[in-house]
Symmetry: C2
Subunit: 181 residues, 2 copies
Amino acid sequence: MKGNTPASNAGEASQLQAAKDEFITQWGAMGSAWGVNRTMAQVHALLMISTKPLTTDDIMDELKVSRGHANTNLRELCGWGLIRGIIPKGERKEFFEAEKDIWKMFCIITRERKRREIRPAINVLKDCHERTETLKGGEAVAFSKQVKALREFLEMTDGILSKVARSEKSIILPWAFKWLS
Amino acid sequence: MKGNTPASNAGEASQLQAAKDEFITQWGAMGSAWGVNRTMAQVHALLMISTKPLTTDDIMDELKVSRGHANTNLRELCGWGLIRGIIPKGERKEFFEAEKDIWKMFCIITRERKRREIRPAINVLKDCHERTETLKGGEAVAFSKQVKALREFLEMTDGILSKVARSEKSIILPWAFKWLS
DNA sequence: CCGTGTTTTCAGGAAATAATGAAATCCAGA
DNA sequence: TCTGGATTTCATTATTTCCTGAAAACACGG
């Protein structure tokens, strides 16, 4: 409870804390639905709304997880590029801070999911198509066609996402906004 | 091995089967990465490449899963609208067939994920924002701003996806193709 | 209302994934 | 090189999620 600004009171502070807790909890739940483990999503949420970089120990007591687990998830988030570790001059501990710009977050997640999931899927489809396109039976032709259609769709999606994620937010956002109305 | 067309031979049939199996396996793996359980994704894959509707028993022996499990996943896929059950005249069993058009699949998945995940997330953000926007402290202001930015981004995404998923494939696909080049 | 074939439900076991905590390793300063 | 805090690893345990199989419910013709 230290660190309240003069103007704040206990009621406001706890209201804020409650809102932060809800945000972290729900962001974690959302993570699950999108194939991300809950704790990792919570660590991300915590750092996203923190006004200063946090240490592993901060994460440990905010989220009540072990040191090992906190470390694992922090590293994985670094791997995604969604957070980065810094060691302030004179400190021995490492502090972590999240990329806070939502557009940059979107670009990072898009690029990574493309690379980790869409690209491999396209390769599988390509493989399935090549292995069957010369076969004669009606079954084989149907399979080959269906697989080709899927592949073309994913390639188009991949292309669009690449182009969008390479754009500047100052180009895309106003455009999107205009397009919507 | 019954049902080969006259022109096919054992080699081609097994090549086709191998490709189908790989497709089903990999589609299942992809499902996991996107928060869908593996078997459900495999059932979907199987129906997507089947040239005729299949019964629960067909699913059971293709995928080697229990009746209960097959039934659960078939029902859930029906819930998504990705497959439908039909009872052909004179039959007692129910047969299942998938929506095969990739654009329609995309629209269905988009709509459902919007409804099940994006909308609830927006509501949480809205709630967090409303509960903190009037607070005074610097911490509170920062939190409120961050949450608002996230919310606006998700609302924009939601809007774009809605608009795209409502469009005709004959409008969007050529447009996308042109936009890419 | 019974018999037969089909689908649904659900308690409990199996498998996969997440999380712990303590030992090993790392690393900077003395 | 030694020391002590900080980080990483990993065998183990806990939790969640998946999956099974059998019983119950259903549907329909006779």
